[in-house]
């Protein structure tokens, strides 16, 4: 495995949970698949479509998101919104993320 491949793998591992956290926080305002994909990317959470769509389904199944079809527009879309349980999960994940960031900051510094 080359160094760049190794770096890619490790970055992927590191970012894995952040997509969930970002979705839960962003969907406090209802959103749909593609719109969310764009917003995630604009905010620096690069996520693949084939990761995001199944992820939304899983979060919905777990009760962290609710969904409904919006047929007001020409193209009906399925809108997701963070549930109360999802908000609690997002708060817990955010707190943990800050704790990890603080822990990393307190690690011995490189010269």
């Amino acid at each position: 495995m080359s160094e760049t491949e190794a770096l890619e793998t490790h970055l992927q591992e590191l970012r894995r949970g952040t997509a969930v956290l970002a979705c839960l926080r962003l969907l406090e305002t209802p959103g749909y698949g593609y719109g969310l994909l764009e917003e995630l990317s604009a905010r620096g959470f690069e996520t693949d479509a084939n990761t995001l769509y199944p992820l939304l389904r899983r979060l919905e199944k777990q009760g962290h998101l609710t969904s409904e079809w919006n047929t007001d527009e020409a193209r009906p879309r399925k809108f997701y919104r963070t549930s109360a349980a999802g908000s609690r999960l997002a708060a817990a994940l955010t707190a943990d993320f800050h704790a990890i960031a603080a822990a990393i900051d307190s690690l011995p510094q490189e010269d």
Partner: protein, 323 residues
């Protein structure tokens, strides 16, 4: 739209493996998402066909996407059951294969087959037993993996510290030496008893030749040779105890001694000089030939198995002692 588009084909392919209930909802959502992505690319000036291809290529294998939607595992046996599967399979192979090989070889020999047929049958039997064992064991685990997804690890056991194996003693203890010496002494005594008195009381007649199980023609030279080897084995047992472990040279000596007993014994057996030809005709006049044939085959296998087991056992102990 008259012709089916690539998107139609993609959505159909992805929904093929999704449960009926979710199919319409998921399919509609996936289609809208694809259309949104394609439109965004078209707005940036890409031709529709290229945009569609690019979006679908990025989404990847539809079966993989569907597996993501339905939480279906994309492996045969996952990390949850892998170790249990591997341990059980190794255990089964280690127990069943030698037993099957020995059983088949014995049965074929008793049936009077030639050596070529016996080896051929053993090899094909071992192969089919191994394949079956691997297949059925794996199948059970695959079913458990797929059915027990939410049931936790009930069917298999959680690991506890109590399962840690005892460190096997590397040295050779006093008990091993005593056991070897006692066994050798008992064997020597039994051979002498057999040749001088005989084991069947009804045929022990004072003043007459005893009815021995071993061929009386082995006395004195073959038996003397055997006793010399047994004395060497006793010496070896003591040396191993004093050294404290099996070294490669001691293991070689052990193998040489084991073969020095087994090879001549098997040759004598095959020439009909090991067992007393009078033995069975005297105690069971009818069927004597058949019984004698079976007993000599079983004896041959016994001799070979003991020598082989001895050599393998010592080799394993030697390798362990080197670590």
């Amino acid at each position: 739209m008259t012709a089916t588009t690539l998107t139609d084909r993609y959505v159909a392919a992805a929904m093929r493996t999704v449960p009926e209930k979710q199919r319409d909802d998921l399919g509609a959502e996936l289609r809208v998402s694809i259309d949104d992505q394609v439109d965004a690319r078209v707005e940036n000036g890409e031709p529709h066909g290229d945009a569609e291809r690019a979006v679908l290529t990025e989404l990847g294998d539809p079966d993989k996407l569907a597996a993501g939607y339905t939480d279906r595992p994309l492996y045969v046996i996952g990390p949850k059951y892998y170790l249990d599967w591997w341990r059980l399979l190794k255990l089964l192979l280690a127990i069943v294969l030698p037993a099957a090989a020995f059983g088949v070889a014995l049965a074929q020999t008793l049936a009077g087959e030639g050596i070529g047929t016996i080896i051929g049958t053993v090899v094909t039997t071992l192969f089919s037993v191994a394949v079956n064992l691997c297949f059925w064991t794996t199948l059970v685990f695959v079913i458990v993996e797929r059915s027990g997804a939410g049931a936790g690890k009930d069917l298999t056991t959680a690991w506890t510290v109590d399962q840690l194996p005892e460190p096997t003693s590397r040295g050779v203890g006093f008990g091993d030496m005593v056991a070897s010496l006692v066994f050798l002494a008992l064997a020597a005594g039994a051979i002498i008893w057999d040749l001088t008195i005989g084991f069947i009381p009804a045929y022990v007649v004072p003043g007459e030749e005893p009815l021995s199980f071993l061929d009386p023609g082995l006395w004195p030279w073959w038996i003397a040779g055997l006793f010399v080897i047994m004395a060497l084995e006793a010496t070896l047992a003591v040396v191993v105890y004093l050294v404290g472990r099996w070294t490669p040279w001691l293991a070689v000596a052990n193998a040489v001694l084991a073969l020095a007993v087994a090879v001549p014994a098997l040759i004598l057996l095959s020439q009909g000089q090991l067992l007393n030809p009078e033995y069975f005709p005297t105690i069971i006049p009818e069927d004597a030939e058949k019984v004698a044939a079976i007993v000599s085959v079983v004896t041959g296998f016994g001799i070979a198995a003991i020598a082989l087991w001895d050599i393998i056992d010592v080799s394993i102990k030697t390798v362990r002692a080197r670590r």
